[in-house]
Amino acid sequence: MPAPHILVVEDDPIGRDLLQIALANRGYSVLAAANAAEAQECLSPAKINGFECVVTDYRMPAMNGLELLGWIRERDPGLATILVTAQCEKELVADSLRGGAIDFIDKPVDIKTLQQAVARAVEQTRRYRHMAESESAVREIGRTQQRILDAHRIHGRGIVEVHFYPKHEAGGDYFTHFQFGGDRLFCLLTDVSGHDPQAAYVSAYFQGYVRGLLQRNATVPEIFYGFNRLLLREWNQDGDSANGETNVETSVAACAVQVDFSNRTARVFAQGTPAPVYLSQDGAVGVVGESGGTPLGWFPTLPLQQVIHPIADGNSLYLWTDGFEDLADRLGVSRLSLACALQQAKERSQPPACIQAANDDVLMAVVHLAAPEPAEDLRPLISESYHGGQSTEIDEMQSYWRRSLAIAIPELTDSQMHDILLASREIMLNALIHGCARRADRKADFQIAYLPKSRTLRVRVDDPGPGHRFDIARQERLAALELVEAQQGLLLVERLASHLAFERGGAGVKMDFKLSSDPSTEANVNESEP
């Protein structure tokens, strides 16, 4: 290893020589400067990184040692400095420490003290610079991950969009996708435990492992079982085989989706990740399989969760990590509305404001299967089922809808939000009280979707009841003549929604709200009444 380079700054020529000789005798490579100006030349941007310690006298003409120290800290805060002071300059010690000197030495300089101080200083400089390099490397890993994940890939059969917001500079969240066999698309979402270069390494290794084996015609179960064994036998320590305990150091949650365009199926394997969500072109939302399952690297026995789901053109599949779900829970919003918020933010080329609340890396991928004919983009925001016994929870439901709508469509005005929530409340109460007869074994489905192109919000409520015979037109006429106490709900909804349609005799309700206009500006209300 080359000798450490030391810069000695001392205006007294004898003192300067003494320092130089004392340090050279210890094997250091020493350069001497007669004043601060010369020292600054030696520490030019091209050369400063070559030094590992600066020993400077305090009292020098023009620029003193403390000022030189400040100058050095601005250019290289990791370069350790030692200030040499006379007895009467003791009070400067406090200043020099605040100024960041690593050490100070009294005059007359004791050679051994000097040599020990320089040794400590060199060690300090090296440690600081090594840490800075590691941090830089971690940031580079994170940037590489981000660059790859940020791609919006277009395949012949569809589009894959990826939204990745890391909380840490490098981590184990990753998503990859590729076509193979001509008619198949493979997607892999990975969440490796940890947020450090090790997690990033394991994630990248696993992705490469999967890709390589797939191209060798291995099946996903074979790949997952194989990697599980690899983690347990080679990377994690095997515990007592009698009780099956394992000292888990690295685990991999993974969701693999194999789309077969010929068979029109998607084969989903979810091990330790949230279950993917499927959206059909007409807006139906469903969960594919179940969330949870055992991550790879936990147990020798790996119960595989495999679901085969039919697919059709124009359908979409949403995959996300638990960091995404955690954020939705923290915000108190639906997962789908958070997904829409991320999509909208990307379209605006702005980071989503809601991401500030994330406690973990957030990764979401959406696989859109191309439709033979263009259809309006439909983004589900809320898709829930409520049972008849939950009519007393309508206030909580409404709050949840409000938060979800606000995050997905922040430009909703107060009046628009009011109308959507009031209409939804009315229809939902009707569904739970009448359609479900307040029975806990009967459920009503509630869905809100956003159609960005037409700026329409669509609410659907479906209940298992027989419907109703409410004649809106007749009730409207009656209400115009006299006050009616009953059946106000449907009359209200009819006025609030841009479009209202009943299906299945009223057991299904579809309401559209046009967001291109603000209801409060359209209302013909006389505000000047007494």
Partner: protein, 110 residues
């Protein structure tokens, strides 16, 4: 539900905290029932009933039914019903349902 009931001169004021909706309207209805059952026999000779909804951002159909019920009972008693609101969305709903034609609506200055 946390209503305030205030009697001053010939005006009785029912104040509702928050929205007037399905989950709290029944409690208001109960208050109204007690009020009318007490009647003049309890020395309550009021001629104006003021329903204060200044804290409400929403009134749903159950809330509207409660208001209609109150209005009808007030009319039977020969009393007037005033409704105080501050949120424009509440005003719109009263307009949609034509209740604004039957009530005295008051909007306090901001």
């Amino acid at each position: 539900m946390n209503q305030n009931l205030e009697i001053k001169d010939e005006t009785i004021t029912l104040r509702v905290d928050g929205d007037l909706v399905s989950t709290n309207a029944p409690a208001l209805r109960g208050e109204i029932d007690r009020l009318f059952e007490a009647g003049d026999g309890a020395g309550l000779a009021w001629k104006v009933c003021k329903l204060d909804l200044t804290a409400a951002a929403m009134i749903d159909s159950v809330g509207l039914n409660t208001v209609v019920g109150l209005l009808k009972r007030a009319q039977q008693r020969g009393a007037r019903l005033q409704l105080v609101y501050s949120n424009p969305n509440v005003r719109r709903i009263l307009s949609f349902t034509r209740l604004d034609k039957h009530l005295e609506l008051i909007k306090p200055p901001e």
